[in-house]
């Protein structure tokens, strides 16, 4: 009995001792008046990690959160924690609510519930733990203690002891990515990790300063990183991912990217992810029948995997997450996530005699040089007769006339090669590879009605954007979708006829081509003295292929890099035959722009009763530096000048 009482008393004493400082911290932390735009604030955020020799890591998280508004109270009606039971064990050990009225309520592990997480297209058995906090009010706070062991993903069963499934995929290694930035105020954040002295640790603080401490013990070394008074991170519209530019810690025991590359190669080869089957071999032969060249063969296989395999993640059980499904499984399921589609393509390419490997990449943000796992996407590399590795992405190119999606240019990647590889970066794609050409030829009648034809053609990512009018929509709506592009700008317009080729799904036959014959009553103001109108081709029609037109141009200067969907070139020509000979009374006068980000040029000519307007723009990259902003911004402004301003023409008497 005494044995039981002593621990209970100790727990009580420690809780009581801690409760007072927590109360004091809450009272002095800050209020909604100080942080009017934040729903809650984090008073204290501590993570302590203890790494074992095997790589198995034990995490203890301790957080104190203060509610600042009713929106914060609504958000924290429950406290939830996501985990994957195949690779991590999580326990919400305790949660203490400190009500502003002085009352305290303690919820322990017995109050937690555990259930399958909601899902969408990836059903890998993810689960959540939850404790209900119930109704909180501004001024209330809660303190949560979470213990966790394991990893985000597991690979293969590497042992028989109970904890073996929690050992990370790269056995014996540890890594972590710790943000020292936040969307809400954080008074103090501490991250501590203890790592065996046998490990070679490398770490770096990016994009800011964080206090560091290190103590070397007999077996392990203790590292501590902390930062006080973190204010909410201020973003800019269209900026790169906040993690690219905000303070963060990367820490890893992996020696370099070569080691990671070799590990990725080996783990999938050992599992047999790329083993073909007679059925797959037969399919490869069938697909490649009539292939004219090496690149033609690679293209046929890439697009077959891209188009015929649905993006949907089913769990293979143990090893799900980093292991690529066996080709036989993916082929039978005809579905998989990026890694499974990449693996399927590797398998088919190898069956066709190519040297091919899987690669890891990070869509949407940068990979920094410390070799921590900063990956969220998987692709394929193939070695062609030029001796070089070429990237293929079967996940991002369904109905895209590319083998590697240029929406992923300037992106880091790491191929899994037998000899290993350093971190690589995908090149910039020439804007001409993604052209949009819009030309309109119209006749303006004396009653203001415009009639004529507009012709749009596009390539690469621009082709894909326009093609989504069809491939991203019910077939029955295709005609309507094309018509609506005109009606969005001119509700009174009428599509006399439209043409979009034979089958938009047959994207490999050539760049998309759209033609619309139209009649637009009351298009222009025509009087005995003036003709006033905005030329149709310059009106922003088919802006789905020119997303930069929606950029917020109010910022004169940028602090952070920014990004668009893809590099792109634009060519707009509008020819209008007027009801009478005229001269310019006023016209948009854009200046020429040329810079590191973009360039723009335009010309307008009026010869008798024929008005010709031409615009040419080139947006040179996907990811831009702040220095690229002035020319990018000016080029968009110039194009918008034609959208927003009419030509005023004086009729010659």
């Amino acid at each position: 009995m005494r044995k039981i009482i002593i621990p209970i008393l100790c727990i009580y004493a420690s809780l009581h001792a801690f409760a007072q400082p927590a109360r004091k911290r809450i009272e002095t932390a800050g209020t909604a008046t100080q942080f009017p735009h934040s729903a809650y604030m984090v008073i204290f955020d501590s993570t302590k990690v203890d790494m074992a020799e095997s790589g198995l890591s034990y995490y203890n998280e301790h957080k104190l959160v203060k509610i600042l508004s009713t929106a914060g109270a609504k958000q924290f009606a429950t406290y939830r924690y996501d985990y994957d039971p195949l690779s991590a064990y999580v326990q919400l050990k305790k949660l203490v609510i400190y009500y502003a009225n002085g009352l305290t309520k303690e919820l322990n592990a017995g109050n937690e519930i555990d259930y399958p997480a909601p899902g969408n297209v990836i059903l890998w058995g993810a689960r959540q733990k939850m404790i209900e906090l119930g109704r909180l009010e501004p001024g209330d706070a809660f303190e949560v203690f979470v213990s966790k062991k394991g990893f985000t993903y597991a690979l293969l069963d590497q042992g028989t002891d109970e904890d073996s499934k929690y050992i990370p995929p790269m056995r014996g290694h540890f890594y972590d990515i710790v943000p020292f930035w936040s969307d809400v105020p954080v008074n103090e954040k501490v991250y501590e990790v203890t790592i065996p002295n046998t490990k070679q640790v490398q770490y770096k603080i990016y994009n800011g300063k964080v206090s560091e401490q290190k103590k070397v013990g007999s077996d392990k070394t203790w590292y501590s990183f902390s930062l006080k008074k973190i204010t909410p991170f201020t973003t800019e519209p269209n900026m790169v991912a906040a993690s690219d530019v905000a303070p963060k810690l990367l820490i890893s025991t992996s020696p370099d990217w070569f080691a990671k590359s070799k590990w990725f190669y080996k783990v999938n080869e050992d599992y047999g992810s790329f083993e073909s089957t007679p059925e797959i071999d037969r399919k490869v032969k069938e697909i490649l029948k009539g292939a004219k060249s090496e690149i033609d063969s690679v293209g046929k296989l890439t697009h077959w995997v891209a188009d015929e395999f649905r993006y949907f993640g089913l769990s293979m059980g143990k090893g799900e997450g980093y292991t690529l499904h066996k080709a036989s499984m993916t082929y039978l399921d005809r579905c998989g996530v990026c890694k499974d589609k990449a693996g399927m393509l590797v398998s088919m390419l190898r069956s066709a005699g190519f040297e091919a490997y899987a690669a890891m990449t990070m869509a949407g943000s940068r990979i920094d040089l410390i070799p921590a796992d900063q990956f969220n996407h998987s692709v394929t590399v193939v070695k062609l007769s030029d001796g070089k590795l070429h990237l293929l992405d079967p996940t991002w190119v369904p109905f895209v006339r590319e083998l590697w999606s240029s929406a992923e240019q300037q992106q880091n990647y790491l191929p899994g090669l037998p000899q290993g590889s350093d971190l690589l970066e995908t090149p910039i794609s020439d804007p001409e590879n993604h052209y949009v050409k819009i030309s309109a030829s119209s006749k303006l009648a004396a009653n203001g009605t415009l009639s004529g034809e507009i012709h749009i053609t596009a390539e690469g990512q621009s082709d894909a954007a326009l093609r989504r009018l069809f491939t991203g929509s019910y077939k029955a709506l295709w005609t309507k979708n094309v018509e609506n592009e005109l009606l969005k700008i001119y509700p009174q317009g009428k599509v006399v006829s439209s043409f979009w080729g034979n089958d938009p799904y047959n994207y490999q036959s050539g760049p998309i081509e759209l033609r619309i014959n139209y009649e637009i009553p009351d298009f222009a103001t025509v009087t005995s003295n003036e003709v006033i109108f905005r030329p149709l081709a310059s009106s922003g029609i088919f802006d789905g292929a020119m997303r930069y037109l929606n950029f917020d141009l109010s910022l004169a200067e940028r602090k952070f890099p920014f990004k668009d969907g893809c590099s792109r070139s634009i060519e707009i020509t509008d020819k209008t035959v007027l009801p009478a000979r005229a001269v310019f009374a006023w016209k948009p006068e854009p200046s020429q722009v040329s810079g590191t980000g973009a360039q723009f040029a335009s010309s307008c000519s009026l010869s008798g009763n024929k008005l010709t307007v031409q615009e040419k723009a080139s947006f040179k990259k996907r990811v831009y530096t702040p220095e690229d902003w002035p020319s990018f911004r000016e080029s968009v402004k110039m194009q918008k000048m034609f959208i927003e301003n009419p030509f005023i023409l004086k009729i010659e008497k």
């Binding site: 015929e308 005809r334 579905c335 491939t471 077939k475 309507k480 018509e483 009419p646």
Partner: protein, 592 residues
Amino acid sequence: MKLQIIYCLLILLFLTSCTPKIEKNYPEADAVYLKRVKTYHLNTDGSITTSEEKQQKLLTYRAFQSLFGDTHIFFNPDFQTVDVKSAFTIMADGKKVEVPENGINDILPGWCAGSEAYNRLREKVITHTALERNAVINCAWSVNTAKGIVPCLAGTETISSDCPVENYAVVVEVPEGVTLNYQLINSAVQPETKQKDGFKIYTWQFTDIPQHLAENNETVNLPTVPVLLFSTQNDEASILKWLSTDGVSDEAVASIKKETQSLTPAQKVLKAQEIIANEVNTLFIPAPLTAFKSRAPREVWLSNSGTPFEKCNLLASVIRSQGANAEVCIKYPAYCNDEQLPFHLLAEPLVKVNLGRDTLYLSATHQNRNASEFLGAQTIIRSLSSNFKQINSLRPSDLVKITGEMKLSRNEKINGKISSEYSNSSVPWYSLLANQANVPDKQINSKAKIEELSEHKLVVSSVIDASLSTERGGYLFVTIPESHEVSASIIPSVLSSERINPVALPCPINESYHFQLQLPENSSLVNSLSEEISNSIGTVKISFSQKEDKITIDKHLTINNQSINPKEYTQFKQLMDKWRTPQFKELVICTK
């Protein structure tokens, strides 16, 4: 002779069966259901088994990549069990591929996320594998609901789909002696009935149902596709009682009381609505999955989350504690106006509050601006606790009338006075009761003063001092002020040339503008015009004219109908196209 006839018939039958089935073409469809069968079976012990079977052929890439690749079955394990009877794909070459074991997963439905109370609900996702163009998905499953959980066997089946259906059957099986009440709207199909093993079986068989793609401004209250309603209940009162929940949360009452102490009775009610609608999480869980039962208000308040029914019960109980008369009501489509039909399956809850002169109809999930917009047309409002029942038929026109006298300066500024009149549901009556600063059309009425206010009429005057014009080469382009209420907010921004379903408007429209604009010296209107269209749907009149140094702008739109059927759509579009023509929203003035 008889034998010969029989032989001939047998030969004919044989030949018919040998003739290869001619496959129909669906050039406009992404997929086609070859077969859909939905069966409702009321067991003799009172439990209910609902079964579904489907065969769906995929025709396009999009069909299997993003439209039809999964089957989702929602259930409550506390009283329901699911049995997946078969799930396989017949690939284009005829190969049969069963859904693998890992292709059937139970997850938490998204609308239960963040709720401890409803954490046990599940969504069974059947991921169909081996999909490709011309593959056929085959799937059959059943859900068994334990006895005594729901008040009766009931169902509403909308006979339509976003792809064509060749054969669609709805089967309802009830023990002999149990009366099935039913109604099928928008179809003349009659049920086949038969008796078997002590059950009466009703079968509605539909064939060649065209695909129905949703268009904007459709309304559930006036469906255009067949809807089958059926129920075994014959006691409306018991259903209403089933939906009711008593109780009060002292904690909610005390907390809201602190926020409402110095307010008027109406403001107290609306503040309670604001708190419960905005601060308590809403769980949009379909009522059958909670067996139409609500937790007590105290539990809802303390968990800070609730279903729409639960939040209504909480709101009504708080308002009652404020001394007002509040009752929970349900709202459902008027086509279900039969006490023996399954109105409870279509019901949305609301709170009716009597405040002496005013009756407020409040949502507990959002702050509704007024009653008529929230209650809608073609709906029935029924109290759960009293005999109150109201049918909302057509609504009167929403009216916006804006007049003004303004002066244009050469510096592109416009100043003057504007008077705006709003009526019916364009009056944000509840918002104004809560705070008179909540006037509509902030851009027009930036410095607004309320001149007249009632539930159905609002008159606002304001001083305008704004840059509404742009100078280009000696020409001033003036944007004509326009209300954000009525046509701009309730009519779709893009009207395609063709329409399959009727356009449903919440109310008829009467929107007009009359402005006088004094010009700078030596200026003239360039785009004087006079446009008028009048047809059976309504009228559009637009005129810009100049007399001496004043321009008169008159714009008037009336839409007389609340529902515009596809035959009338061209006339409706003609009016709206004219009204929305960009050239008619701007004045061009020459200042040279």
